[in-house]
Symmetry: C2
Subunit: 318 residues, 2 copies
């Protein structure tokens, strides 16, 4: 799957991801009103509005972007109807040829982690049949529980040709509270005795380990990628070196403050190695002064214009 | 909500949680066969079997246990039908007077974290209406992203009288990979310069901070609890001292190897302060030699017997 993602990035000359993180406040009134008229001001009504919004955005940007990243929390808050639209959105994007990164940040251990992995990336067995419940192409995962949490995902990725992005250094202001702590022990690992490294570097080394079992054939990048926030360019530079075969998913561009010029160190010299996400900067572009000429009815065209601008900003900096 | 949980623990003299983590292999054949006859070997059929299984277990143990902990991954793998049964299980358990700890281990930042918090513990606004999507009483959360990830949950807990259990030291063998690393920096925090502490201790201190905003009125414990595995009794002892007002949810008892005798240090002198989870040890007790006298048709009675034995084992050790 990492090979397919890179094929699409190269074809579209766009190392970017559109984050499908809809909030009701991003959706123009007429879409909400129509959905509420049909289904009431209910979870079903909200989910229908999100679906219509997503569909229009995806139609407007699918020839420009290699991938989308729906944030499942934004659907989960609307309960079962919301998650139904999450699943429908995944399927619709795949029909349009897009790679889908499920931003699910799941993380547990053993059979529990395996259940998440089969539910999101693999297939669940029921009697003689197998079902693909949420069928994303990639998923984001949380490493706090260590290898017991990640290896079941890696196993499913290898079996099903899917991929992961493991949280390494997240884009938020408080990400340093634990991720930036300097560790002085060797934790019993060869070559580390007496060394000092940050926790996020320790995680990065594990990402390299986990990923070494799942290197893509075509480009030599691993199916097991990493998340490193655009808001931490120095850390990005260091991590690029530490994880040479790891694709980096870069959130925090745009609304969170990351800029094109900050991005160049996340990429390899060949212009590959990273893919930059923008969510509200794209899907809520119509609410931004810069794109207000499109008006609420032109929200999808505004998203398209924002993707084109983002593509230029990124390609100009790498 | 922490006060209600403690009331129930005292009333039932049982500091324990039944983990509702159903796997199809735990469910006696006749229940699966009946569900598959009705709905086919489908996600719907599997979800129906889980629902019938859960209901019988809950009916059999609800007068003995103060709380249940459904593990959402086990439902999520069955897609929308599975999550529908998760929600129905939460509601059913609450109708039976049980506290429900949603073992969701979610963790994200800002508005995304808030979406998880309102979806699982709070209410989601749609127009003039508010809906409680999954309505658990407590949720487990992952701290890797720092305060930005936890504070939105704490806010919702304060507003809605709900609670959290933050992962501190997890029960799995590889939990030490990151959690046990020794930090040598002070991270700019007062009093810590030059100190050495483990990452899980740094997380524990933050749990105390976050929890200080949400102390329950009746017993003085915080709504913001911690997860510490039964498999790490020495760490449990240290953490009990570090987090005096924090309730500790203790997984890893039974199937994962934790024993009653390991548990005493997780509790305070008054016998409060911790609640011990067992999942397959209870719900799959009928498959254990010790309870095979109940047979597959007596699976719920076997679960009841296992809860009684667990209660004695824990109460005998504290």
């Amino acid at each position: 799957m990492i090979d397919k993602l890179i094929d699409e990035i190269k074809k579209k000359k766009a190392p970017l991801v559109v984050g499908l993180d809809p909030q009701l406040s991003f959706i123009p009134d007429p879409i909400c009103e129509k959905a509420f008229e049909e289904l009431g001001e209910t979870l079903e009504g909200a989910a229908e509005a999100i679906w219509q919004f997503n569909k229009a955005i995806v139609d407007a940007v699918c020839d420009l972007t290699p991938a989308v990243k729906p944030q499942i929390a934004m659907y989960e808050q609307f309960g079962i109807p919301g998650l139904t639209v999450f699943e429908r959105t995944v399927r619709y994007c795949q029909e349009k040829g897009l790679c889908v990164i499920g931003d699910i940040k799941r993380g547990d251990i053993g059979s529990t982690s395996l259940s998440y992995a089969v539910g999101h990336l693999g297939t669940t067995q029921v009697g003689k049949n197998r079902f693909s419940a949420f069928h994303e192409d990639f998923a984001t995962v949380n490493p706090y529980l260590g290898s017991d949490g990640i290896e079941p995902f890696v196993k499913v990725c290898r079996e099903e040709n899917k991929g992961l992005f493991v949280l390494v250094k997240t884009s938020n202001p408080s990400s340093g509270e634990f991720q930036d702590r300097t560790v002085s022990d060797g934790n019993g690992q060869a070559g580390e005795t007496g060394s000092t490294e940050k926790i996020y570097e320790a995680v990065a080394k594990k990402v390299v380990d986990w990923g070494s079992q799942a290197i893509g054939e075509k480009y030599g990048y691993s199916q097991i990628g990493a998340v490193v926030g655009a808001t931490y360019p120095e850390e990005g530079k260091r991590l690029r070196t530490l994880m040479p075969k790891t694709y980096i998913l870069v959130p925090g561009y745009g609304a969170q403050g990351g800029k094109g010029a900050d991005l160049k160190h996340f990429f390899d010299e060949d212009g590959l190695g990273a893919i930059v996400n923008s969510s509200r900067g794209i899907i809520a572009a119509w609410k931004n002064e810069k794109y207000e000429r499109f008006g609420p009815e032109g929200f999808a065209e505004a998203a398209r214009a924002a993707v084109i601008d983002m593509r230029e900003d990124i390609n100009g900096s790498i």
